[in-house]
Subunit: 347 residues, 2 copies
Amino acid sequence: MTDPDVRLVDMTLRDGMHAVDHQFTPEQMADVASALDDAEMDVVEMSHGDGMGGSSINYGFAAADTGEYLDAVVPELTDTKLSVLLLPGIGTVEELDLAVDRGADMCRIATHVTEADVSAEHFEFVNERGLEANGLLMLSHMASPETVLEQAKLMEEYGAEAVYVMDSAGAMLPEDVRERVGLLADELSVDVGFHAHNNLGLGIANTLAGIEAGATTVDGCLRGLGAGSGNAQMEVLVGVLEKAGYDVEPDFFGVMDAAEDVLVPMLTEDTMPELDNDSLVLGYAGVYSSFLRHTRRVGERFDLDPREILVELGDIGVVGGQEDMITDVAARMADDEPAAAESESDD
Amino acid sequence: MTDPDVRLVDMTLRDGMHAVDHQFTPEQMADVASALDDAEMDVVEMSHGDGMGGSSINYGFAAADTGEYLDAVVPELTDTKLSVLLLPGIGTVEELDLAVDRGADMCRIATHVTEADVSAEHFEFVNERGLEANGLLMLSHMASPETVLEQAKLMEEYGAEAVYVMDSAGAMLPEDVRERVGLLADELSVDVGFHAHNNLGLGIANTLAGIEAGATTVDGCLRGLGAGSGNAQMEVLVGVLEKAGYDVEPDFFGVMDAAEDVLVPMLTEDTMPELDNDSLVLGYAGVYSSFLRHTRRVGERFDLDPREILVELGDIGVVGGQEDMITDVAARMADDEPAAAESESDD
């Protein structure tokens, strides 16, 4: 055991928003927040799935605006801290101001793993306003441990009190987590965090591996809610950490109650995270879910198994915004191996 | 990597039978077996969930008898081996005879982790008939690594070609798996296997840990089917092992297709394995699922949270057949801590 004190951040009301198309109502948020506060959760994160300012045509409109959500959630939290998420480029300083004024305790600032430099001003603002600032490096599986460290050091320099390795595509094996988190824990003077997705069925195990390697703050969602196959399932995580001998603040049965008595009745079968073939192949390929729909269409056009295209895209290391590369890659694959392509599509 | 060659045993048609109340039809079994054979699965296991002879008032009647299932499945398998499960005390030599005559290639003989000695004659019979015999030690989390080894050595002596550590209650952490599998791999001259359940969300990770510790044959089910929260999800396991650099025989996309195109259409939402509070607390307590219903009733009677009783039962180390201890334990708990008991039940 490297550290008996792990801080747990519940993101049911943030990453979980993806699973409900950002349609939690302020009343539902208040109920979940209240149950998590009763269960002595360390931190609750709340915002649009893509962070404050995400409510838009591009990312999907939320059921209410940030101010309404904050006003519903803040009164429910007594000892539990409230975090909001901000992605530079999506969220703005105006929204940060609003969050500070309405009672947020901390702000987590997320960038692509190689683009920490876009976050300097945001950290400065959060620190000026006296909130705890954490930095999140998204899609960390795409960068070497050394690159992740270099970027994490930027966030540390900007004023992050913790820097997270985020496995946004659910593409890491436990050894990948240990390498990256371990290096950061050795080299940073601030806390190291880990954020899992469950595309390879490793959400809980990778979080445990991250903690063993030195992470002292980790993320999860009740019932594993979250985009695609979801995040680490919070009530399971609490049980596993207790069983492994770690000292955690939340009450195990209380978190279980929040999941099954409060959250589950708000969900339909369709919104429950599922480890189906789509999420599995995305995790296997290490490609973000925005590629899935396009790749399926392109696969039909070139008579290729879309899974083969996704694996190839993962090997190349595409990132969000490069969806136009799908056609190029598929055309080359169809051209290179017409026979193989046909037999794949017959599978 | 300790061994690049891992044999995969798909138990969708055996442990998965629990999830469908043993109601797969022979035709459904044939379809799943055919898809798994196409995907080059190493071994398919088929029988009542509790093994041959399990079809009864006690364990639930299956939709067809063992002979009908065998006649449906055997013609579908070309390179894939067929395994049947036998629990001494439930299955008999007559059924073993039937399985041998109808084309089974191997028989797996399962006992409680401390009762390997009841299996000597069964191993002798299977070996005499020329089938591969494997031994499975159920609820291995209840015994120390040394005891598991002692029992495994008995099975080795009886003629097992492989001995499995079974985490029947889904109660192990990766370190528990490594300890037990590692010791067996060091000390046995036959192969070591591992069988996971997903109660703590660790089905895939524990199987990976088992392989890293020396297991060369492991179990899984398509879509993670199986009792309660299910087993290791086979298509995910294949992808994870490939990603981790292991050489596995089954075709990743083929196994994915078997899961989503063949198995899933046979299932309802109710039969899909789910990591809910019931399965979580069973894994946390390390208690077999047969205790759940009784404990809930006793909890109501004594005004105790049934979860507290299950954890206590797990600490004591109850095994199947000791369900009468639930009332004793609950009565003592209610007597000892009336105040605590009341506050728990108010949670």
